[in-house]
């Protein structure tokens, strides 16, 4: 594989960039693989990469119905954080932060990880107390957390509405300085390129139509490009999890909902890190191109449409305007939607299933992007060793029946309001 560097860039400039090697091949599927990963998104690609790199399993296929990186890894708001309260989520995502910090070097692909910090705003004394508690929990798990008062918040985001007559005055906020953003597509492409170089077959435009299960053991999958055998199959299909689960006669504690995001026209730098509104569901950051990247609530009803509805955008931006009145002057450039695998407690599932050789990676709700590296890392471990890693030992499927929920927000099972 050609190494990307300033020298290769200069060298290729002389030939008008016509002689770059393809970043990944377009192979014809083999009859059999050691492992099949269904879903060529961030998590699937990362899983294949860590299977090859950490576990030396290179006879791996990634099967993707569309094209790699065309789903949620290309549709998110690129936020990376580990500001969780529960130990299982905090440790899992903090390990992920460690992977993020070295990812560009490791993949020889600039994922533009930019740790500019995240501030969750508080608008009441009760919310400040809750954030103090969460911040303390984070620090006990070795995660940086800073409780900011109103004046400190003002230093970070002077353009927010700090006037006295607002409905939800800013009391302060909880900041994780090491959180940030990354270039989402680069994450998918970087993992794909390295996985391909190590021998992983990336098979695009290939739909999984069914599964071969004999005596409770997985034998392979039936696809639009024929049958492909494998003793181990991993599901990394986010919002399509329930569709494939139905083919396996499985019912899961997951519902699929559409979440929208939007960007404004690009403007000069105005916002450094990520900010979340505490009195409504709204989060915002500014991309390197200058666009304000915003998101908020789910549309609020089960949906497989990868596009959303205007009332939700309006509702989300109402919250945005309450916080940052200057947004009213900006034109909206794009809105789009992605389908989320909303789990019933708001935390993900990385686990084995009752079918031998079938592994499940789902339930990311709308926080899947930040966990891309650690999800791939732990899922690869789970598949390769046929047992859970300590990091995902609590992200099990049976936590719903045993009662060991990871209900970070304690919102109950109405996934559409979480």
């Amino acid at each position: 594989m050609q190494k990307y560097s300033v020298f290769s860039l200069i060298k290729n400039a002389f030939t008008n960039h016509m002689n770059w090697e393809v970043a990944w091949k377009d192979p014809v599927p083999k009859k059999e693989y050691d492992v099949i990963i269904i879903g060529g998104g961030g998590h699937g690609l990362a899983t294949a990469y860590y299977l090859a790199k950490e576990h030396k399993i290179t006879n791996v296929a990634i099967i993707e119905k569309g094209w790699i990186g065309g789903g949620n890894v290309g549709r998110n708001t690129t936020i990376i954080r580990s500001n969780f309260m529960y130990d299982a989520n905090a440790r899992f995502n903090e390990f992920g932060m460690e992977l993020w910090r070295n990812l560009s070097q490791e993949l020889n692909f600039n994922v533009m990880f930019s740790p500019r910090g995240i501030i969750n705003l508080a608008h009441s004394d009760a919310q400040m107390n809750a954030y103090a508690r969460r911040g303390n929990s984070m620090r006990l798990n070795g995660i940086d957390a800073k409780l900011l008062n109103r004046e400190e918040v003002k230093k970070h985001i002077p353009m927010a509405d700090f006037s006295d007559d607002v409905r939800f005055p800013i009391f302060g906020g909880l900041m994780q300085p090491s959180a940030g953003t990354a270039r989402h597509d680069a994450v998918a492409w970087g993992y794909a390129r390295q996985a391909d170089a190590m021998g992983v077959d990336i098979i695009q435009h290939c739909e999984v139509e069914g599964f071969d299960v004999v005596n409770g053991k997985i034998q392979g999958v039936r696809t639009s490009k024929g049958e492909i055998k494998a003793k181990k199959v991993g599901l990394c299909v986010a919002g399509s999890t329930n569709i494939l689960a139905e083919k396996l006669n499985m019912t899961l504690p997951i519902e699929t909902h559409v979440l929208q995001a939007c960007v404004s026209e690009p403007v000069k730098p105005v916002l450094d890190g990520v900010v979340t509104f505490g009195a409504g569901h709204f989060y915002i950051s500014q991309s390197d191109k200058g666009e304000m990247v915003m998101g908020g609530d789910l549309d609020g009803y089960n949906s497989y449409a990868q596009r959303g509805n205007l009332p939700t955008i309006q509702h989300v931006l109402t919250g945005g305007l309450a916080l940052f009145p200057f947004l009213s002057r900006l034109k909206m450039l794009r809105t789009w939607g992605g389908i989320m695998d909303m789990s019933m407690d708001g935390s993900p599932i990385i686990d084995k299933t009752h079918i031998e050789g079938l592994y499940l990676n789902c339930g990311w709700c709308y926080g899947g992007f930040k966990s891309t590296p650690v999800s791939g890392w732990t899922f690869a471990h789970t598949i390769a060793q046929d047992r859970l890693h300590e990091l995902n030992s609590e992200l099990t499927l049976n936590r719903f029946s045993t009662g060991y929920l990871l209900d970070e927000k304690g919102l109950g099972t109405k996934t559409w309001i979480s």
Binding site: Y301, N302, N309, P311
Partner: protein, 88 residues
């Protein structure tokens, strides 16, 4: 914007309604032994189909009645709405 036909008030804009989730989920019967599995299925497990989905809506800014809606989760086409006492 969805346009939902409330069985009591007629066609109204989505903003008047609140979503209530999968309408095929049934609470285990009262005053009977409930197995762990039945309880899990009721509380947590959802089919979440792509296509026709029977769901509950609440006309929260209108007559405040709950009712059933049969809607396509991929196209958002609404096929039918019915009162809680009616079958779809």
């Amino acid at each position: 914007m969805l346009h939902i036909k409330c069985p009591f008030c007629g066609l109204r804009a989505q903003k008047e309604f609140a979503y209530g989730g999968d309408a095929t989920v049934k609470r285990p019967e009262l005053n009977k032994e409930v197995s762990k599995e039945d309880w899990d299925n009721f509380v947590y497990m959802r089919k979440s189909p792509r296509g026709k989905h029977l769901e509950l809506w609440h006309h929260i800014s209108g007559c405040r009645q709950w009712f059933k809606v049969e809607r396509d989760t991929a196209t958002h086409e609404i096929f039918k709405t019915a009162k809680m006492s009616e079958e779809i």
